[in-house]
Amino acid sequence: MSQSEPPKEPSGRGADVVWSIIGTLVAGVLAWGAIGWLLDRWLGTRFLVAVGIIVGMAGAFYLIMKRYGSG
């Protein structure tokens, strides 16, 4: 409405940050859970899907902290 340019970090991104944090968490569990599950099927074991889920969560936390933690 006003003549000024929109700010560099627009306020509309608040909802985006929340959703993308949730999305990253889900994606971490899904991605590494799936890798663990496939390894389980390949190796005939049963615990790798659990390991995968935990690894995925850890990775997702790391990613979220790296991306949103400092700012």
């Binding site: 627009p10 909802a15 985006d16 959703w19 999305g23 899904l30 590494w32 890798i35 995925g56 790391y62």
Partner: protein, 267 residues
Amino acid sequence: MSAPMLPLAAEREGFHAPGIEIFEWPDIVHLEVAGFDLSINRVVVQMFVVGLLVWGLFFLAFRRPKLVPSGLQNVMEAFVDFIRNQIVLEVIGRDGLRFMPYLTTLFVFVLFGNLGGIIPPILFPLNGRMALPAVMAICSLLLFISVGISSQGLAYFKNALFPPGIPWPVYILLTPIEFVSTFIVRPVTLAIRLLANMIAGHLILSVFFVATGYMLTSMNISTLFGLGALIFSVALIAFELFVAGLQAYVFTILSAVYIAGALEPEH
């Protein structure tokens, strides 16, 4: 022998809450093309009607646009202004104005589809079936991928999958997560968020109105509670109106956010 009959009789006359079956509609025209079920049911008809309505409203509003808008042009300009100022300029910036047509159509179509859930005699939210949310989410996915490729080239995938500032062995851990979160979780959550909100809203409204009718016609003490339920049901319509608008807004703004993310590499 007569004792076990009693609960059965009570069960027959009892209250039956509407369930997920209220989302199933019989085919009006059965149609199968090359093994694909293309049957027309009520939801498909509603989809065509809403599509035509959105097209018609925009066509009529801007067929002969006037500098000082009035009537329908005023109303439709309010939608366009809202998308432009609240979504495109806020989220993407001036660069995003070329995505106005997509985002405006998306918003209005989702909104009108949702509003069907509370407008008699339609009373069915179009986005309560997975087909439309899924297709619109796939459209947004394809759009932001092509925006990414056209503005960054193949470096888009490198930027999307390998976040900067991280020692390289960690990419083994993070790249699968980034891939799933960008290209799978984004469209899936986009569609499911809309679908689940519409299913929940439609179920709540149905249960409340069926229960209100049941209580009001039961001609005992429940009739009194029925009056309270009636008031609450009407309040729920207002709430569903809010949800219809909010979910259209969320779907559109997240599509815009994904486009903005594809326009420039993340820092």
